[in-house]
């Protein structure tokens, strides 16, 4: 795995790489460009915001703050719920004797493959009966289903690498399974927990499908994706404001990519290949 590859001295590769990245990220540049262009000039499709303005952001910040707050609450709630379910299960599946382990493993794989629209339909009918449509806990529960299977698999993949001797030593010292879990397994698995938390947050933040079905009449208790969707649905589409909202909705991703890139790339490869 850990192979030292020498860094190539190939300026043309760097140049081509920069070019390819620029092409790939062009839509994002365009989003920022439009969000900074004065309303009257947007349709000119200038390559840079020649008619520069912050006006769209001023309008949008006034409108969208409640939605951003809701998204934050939903994201954090989803993180807590996901960790609470996934970490113990990961420990059990990797280190303890669990009847039906293979079945659970299979269910977790299938769970990640179930189309969200099917889940949304089922949730809608259940929530309708229970009267929890348009509530935050309802949305948090639904959003957590995106992250829990991934979380369990990531935790159990990591925890299975914890040396058995370490846990046995704790047992010999008289620690219960719970104590072993809390004071040894969890601290060692901190990085995995950060990765799971990051993804749970990003997925909950990005969710459109559950929000648009389970929380569509939630008024201001709706997340930012719905705030953005309102702009799309309105009669006279204000593209400057739309793009400014889109930029705001992208901030957490951008921030986490800068601050926590190594956790993210750990999750991306582990989640996709190792399971």
């Amino acid at each position: 795995m850990s192979r030292l590859r020498s860094v190539q001295r190939a300026p043309w590769k760097t140049a081509l790489g920069v070019l390819l990245t620029a092409v790939m990220l062009f839509p994002l540049y365009w989003m920022v460009n439009v969000s900074l262009t004065d309303r009257g000039a947007i349709r000119d499709a200038e390559l840079y915001p020649r008619a520069f303005t912050f006006e769209h952001y001023r309008v949008v910040l006034g409108d969208q703050l409640p939605y951003l707050r809701t998204s934050l609450v939903v994201g954090l709630g989803t993180v807590l719920l996901t960790l609470a379910v996934a970490a113990p299960a990961g420990y059990a599946l990797s280190k303890l004797r669990v009847p039906g382990r293979r079945l659970i493993g299979f269910l977790l794989i299938v769970a990640q493959m179930i189309p969200a629209v099917v889940m949304a339909l089922g949730f809608y009918s259940v929530y309708n009966d229970l009267g929890v449509l348009n509530t935050l806990p309802g949305l948090i529960l639904a959003d957590s289903t995106i992250a829990v299977p991934f979380g369990v698999m990531l935790f159990s993949a990591f925890m299975s690498g914890i040396p058995r001797e370490m846990l046995e030593a704790a047992h010999i010292d008289g620690a219960s399974h719970w104590r072993t879990f809390v004071s040894i397994v969890l601290p060692i698995s901190r990085n995995s927990a950060v990765t799971v938390a990051l993804f749970a947050f990003l997925w909950a933040w990005s969710d459109f499908l559950f929000a648009s079905t389970l929380n569509r009449d939630g008024g201001r208790l709706r997340p930012i994706t719905m705030g953005l969707y309102d702009y799309i649905g309105s009669q006279n589409q204000q593209w400057g404001e739309l793009m400014a909202t889109a930029v705001l909705a992208s901030i957490p991703t951008a921030l986490l990519l800068v601050v926590a890139q190594r956790y993210i790339s750990a999750g991306l490869t582990a989640g996709a290949v190792k399971d």
Binding site: R43, P99, I172, S265
Partner: protein, 323 residues
């Protein structure tokens, strides 16, 4: 999942000779059945969770597909049992087969391009060069952004009158394209979806490339094999297992796409797939002005069945790779 370690017989490698031997033999007793009860306890939240928030909603979905729900009976809750009646109606409807064909087009064309471009980029990034790590990181951004953000941006870029794409192709003398009208909408959403899927393919294929031993390439280049021959005879064959997983997961993930299509075209015209069709019927938006719970559940159940089959295929592929 790699739980092979669990099956390993617990040997006594740690029994040091001497003073602690007695404690060791005494403590061995509980390890004969290492924590079945604890195992159940720790996995219980997950089991309850899977039951309540996966199995039950899915049961509800299937049950709805077998009853004839309308707006009224949805409220009162006494929809008559319909057996396979609703299934037959959906399968016989004029929309079903065109939608299946569009779904397959969407999935297959997206996958072919995502995989090819992803692989090309992975090979490009395989040997690090100045800035390569940073650039590779930047390539992930589209994957992690909220899809609604990307979809909105693409929608505006594809605007017929003032979208930047039509401006760009106009430079080359191509007439403006009505990207989002009903005939072209399938291609419009495919383009956006390819863009979205490139990072996923790049990440997996790149990590697959990292696991191919460098010695193979060194031996090949000593034998005078060109870069292309090395790719065809080393890279591509050794990447096969990773390719299988990438395409399989890609298939499942692409099949369930709703947001990108919905936001760009509300699934109208040719861009309707099974997933967006179910969404529009369930919630009475887009191509279906009326709410049709049962019909939506039928389409949902079909998608569910495909997911289940793919789950088995995935397991089978994995098992074959472990041997």
């Amino acid at each position: 999942m790699d739980n092979v370690t669990e099956q390993r017989p617990t040997t006594t490698t740690w029994t040091e000779p001497g003073e602690r031997a007695t404690t060791v033999t005494r403590r061995r007793l509980p390890r004969l059945k290492p924590g079945t009860l604890a195992g159940i306890g720790f996995v219980a939240p997950l089991a309850v969770y899977l039951g309540a928030f996966y199995a039950y909603p899915l049961y509800e979905n299937v049950s709805m597909s077998l009853h004839r729900f309308t707006r009224a009976t949805y409220v009162t809750g006494d929809a008559p049992y319909a057996g396979s009646g609703v299934y037959r109606e959906v399968l016989d409807s004029a929309q079903f087969w065109p939608t299946v064909v569009q779904t397959l087009t969407f999935v297959v064309v997206s996958l072919v391009f995502q995989y090819t471009i992803g692989l090309a980029l992975a090979v490009f990034f395989e040997r690090s060069f100045r800035l390569s790590a940073v650039l590779r990181g930047l390539f992930l951004v589209p994957w992690l952004l909220p899809i609604i953000v990307s979809a909105t941006t693409w929608q505006w870029m594809m605007d017929a009158d003032s979208g930047v794409i039509n401006r760009l192709i106009g430079v080359f003398g191509v007439d403006p394209v009505w990207w989002l009208n009903s005939d072209n909408s399938l291609w419009a959403v495919i383009i956006a979806n390819i863009w979205l899927g490139i990072p996923f393919n790049l990440v997996i294929l790149y990590s697959g490339l990292q696991n191919i031993p460098t010695e193979l390439y060194e031996a090949a280049s000593i034998d005078g094999a060109s870069r292309w021959r090395q790719f065809r005879h080393i890279t591509f064959p050794l990447l096969k297992p990773v390719t299988a997983v990438t395409l399989l997961l890609g298939f499942v993930y692409t099949l369930k796409v709703v947001d990108i299509i919905w936001i760009m075209t509300t699934g109208t015209g040719k861009s309707q797939t099974l997933a967006t069709w179910a969404y529009s019927m369930a919630f009475g938006k887009g191509s279906s002005a009326v709410i049709k719970y049962s019909e939506a559940s039928v389409v949902g159940s079909i998608l569910l069945l495909v997911a289940l089959v793919m789950g088995f295929v995935y397991l089978a592929v994995q098992r074959r790779q472990e041997v």
